[in-house]
């Protein structure tokens, strides 16, 4: 199974967690990113994710491969939504399993940080006042 996947339908966290199971693993750490109803003091009503598909697939796969090389993991998985999302929808799932918790916590945090920094996906937020805007973080 591919470790990184783009998805245009809702993410099933229970099904994704099951991909981490391994008899040698002592635990798993998962992170779910959700669409929240506010950003920078503005009321958000929904958002669209635009993706550069080919590069997002290869960059996401590279991040998870790097995570497996950097940390002592049994499994690693990331699924990122694309398209139109509503408030409360899961935007991203990250999960890792490991023999011990230190590696699991560290790897899960590292993966979501790298995904946010590197994978070519852009968020267009729609605001309650009818405006919308692409987010391009950083100064």
């Amino acid at each position: 199974m591919k470790r990184f996947e783009l998805r245009d339908a809702p993410i099933d966290a229970v099904a994704e967690r099951a991909t981490l199971e391994d008899p040698a693993a002592g635990g798993c750490v998962t992170f779910e990113g959700w669409v929240r109803n506010h950003n920078d003091a503005r009321a958000v009503t929904r958002l669209d994710y635009q993706v550069y598909g080919a590069l997002a697939e290869s960059e996401g796969a590279a991040i998870l491969d790097e995570a497996c090389a950097r940390f002592e993991l049994r499994a690693a998985r990331c699924v990122h939504r694309v398209g139109a999302l509503a408030i409360g929808d899961m935007a991203v799932f990250v999960g890792v399993s490991a023999d011990h918790r230190d590696a699991a916590f560290a790897a899960c945090r590292w993966i979501i940080d790298e995904v946010k920094r590197r994978v070519p996906i852009w968020k267009n937020e729609h605001y309650a006042d009818g405006e919308s805007g692409w987010l391009h973080p950083g100064a």
Binding site: Y49, A54, E59, A91, K123
Partner: protein, 79 residues
């Protein structure tokens, strides 16, 4: 030389299109970016932009070839 450009997010808004084919004298992404910025007024200096050629990330001095597909990536906001 002809290159195919694809634009994403605010760059597509500024360019007014998601893609275009350009005739260019630029031989690397650095010169090509300067050229398209003059035309489309992208709001990002090159330090904040990454470059992909034919779906792989490359450096600013990568040598472009006729028919390449070039994408300039503004700062990303997934997750």
């Amino acid at each position: 030389m002809k290159v195919r450009m694809r634009y994403f997010a605010s760059l597509a808004d500024r360019a007014g299109r998601p893609e275009e084919t350009r005739d260019t004298a630029a031989t690397n992404p650095r010169d090509l970016y300067a050229e398209v910025v003059r035309e489309h007024a992208f709001g990002f200096p090159p330090e904040r932009v990454r470059v992909a050629v034919n779906d792989a990330l490359v450096g600013w001095d990568h040598v472009l070839a006729d028919g390449d597909e070039v994408v300039f990536l503004p700062p990303v906001s997934g997750g």
